[in-house]
Amino acid sequence: MEFNTVDGVVEIEPQRDGSTFSSNGMLLEVGSDLWLEIDGRKYKAHATKVGDVWWVHIQGHTMRFELIEPGAAGADDDGGMVAPMPGKILEVMAEVGQEVKTGQTLMIMEAMKMEHKITANQDGIIQEILFQVGDQVEQGAQLLNIE
């Protein structure tokens, strides 16, 4: 099974024995609740799946792992930059054809009463800018394309 994580793509195939799963010497009991056993100690865990993302809580830590569905398009970034949440475009600071570097601010949008910068997620040349100043954008809307 493959997951997108903050450290990149990770593959894991836990061993299964009935309702008990294991890997790296850790055991997980999957019943109506989740109990993880490490070195003889048991820890309560919580998990829920939202879309393709598994949310996990264990020992005060919350993590998210995006399941990469086999056969689905790679989760790798393909240069499309989308709005992280609904909001309004306040400034557009780049032009089509412009060369940009990773981290460079390309747009400013307002959401949740705060301003947020939209920055380039790769080096490249801007192919498209899909919104103008003042536009309302939906969550997930593609804002620009870099190639």
């Binding site: 998990a47 799946k49 998210r64 792992f65 609904p86 981290g103 949740m112």
Partner: protein, 493 residues
Amino acid sequence: MLKRVLVANRGEIACRILRACREAEIEGVAIFAANDSGTLFTELADISIQLDGEGLAETYLNQQQIIEIAQQNGCDSIHPGFGFLSERADFAQAVIDAGLIWIGPSPTAITQMGDKMTARITMRAAGVPVIPGEEVEGGLEQVLALAPSVGYPLLLKATSGGGGKGMRAVHDAADLESEAKAAMREALNAFGDDRIYIERLLVGSRHIEIQILADQHGRTIHLGERECSVQRRHQKVFEESPSIALDSELREQMGEAACEAARAVSFEGAGTVEFLLTPKGEFFFLEMNTRIQVEHPVTEMVTGVDLVREQLRIAAGEPMSCGPLSMRGHAIEVRLYAEDPANNFLPAIGKLQIFKPPTGPGVRFDTGVRQGDEVTPNYDPMLAKLIVWAPSREEALLRMGRALDEFVVLGCVTNIRFLRELCDHKDVVDGWTTTDMIDRLWPDGWAPDQNSIITDAGLLIASSCEAAGFGKQLSTKSSEHISPFTTLNRRFP
């Protein structure tokens, strides 16, 4: 006594006020925008009225509509909470003109304190020390012209501001113009007023604020301090009382200065006078908030005074019920934000699929949300406040750590882990809390201190749950929530 209060607010603070009303045997009327339908505060009210319109201006900021609802529903008073219309003198005046009781200070006091420049001038006149800086009357040009005389680093602040909106730190003259533009734009959007002013940025200072209560019977008292130095994006995240930096002598000095500030504007009700306390021990007036404060619970837990209940008493013309100041033990509040601390505290949204707050000794939980609620981008991302009390600061930090470890929120990113690490951080444990501490400690942004065992455990849990089809009924459609991993850099610059 008041009979029926309209609460002109939403979320956590509306819940707080509506509960206080119920405990005072006063009826509480909630108003809510369509997108707040069915949320917790509408449930806690005796009567809930839906506001017409969309967007803040047509709903929670719609003075006329709110006053009409109050009148149509037999309310005798309006409590504004914090934010929204709470520091709008014109609204306070309109409420009074409509024959209703305004649960707050007079419009004059709000005006004098709400305009940060006027407040600076008033305080200077009353002998309360203010931060070196410049009041600006004009626009961008004047800001650019006056900045050099204040010197860098400096702070741009919205004249009508609050809550960190329209506030920008400028460390270098090169950034002044763009930051000033951004500050003015944010100020305009947030407060309908784009004026900003300039203050010296006092590096390494603590944010100390004094809680004030004043009734109509001539009594103005302070209830000790709160230290709210730990801030991100100029918004407080971790607040405590008492402050490690104050001894009883300094507390009395600052308390007296705060009472002086309140008396200077004939203040009435609950308010907070904010100071910066420099490493040298000088304190400067920052501003006065003429309303209940987000972090009021830490004062309540240390002093035993129910501040919202006292607001209701004072507004009804009753004397406040509290006796002489008696502070006991130590209280800490942390703010639960829907935001990603590993991504420059960018606000987050999502459905609270699992939401299990901690309970037990010394724990208070003031929330605006419940499990199953949807966090939307429409409002402030503060969802709840977790407050602990313990006999000592050391015990309070350990208790907060315990409570945060028990707190489970899945389905929306929050700052829980960031807050948890703060409780253990040497600078916090030692009390070296200053307003610049988050930038100082994590100049390149914060990331969770997570060992590989935890990560491996997380992956085992995710993969096993996937393989076992765990909790399948809970999953929602993929389109509802976009993956947070593909759209943003890990470190938002």
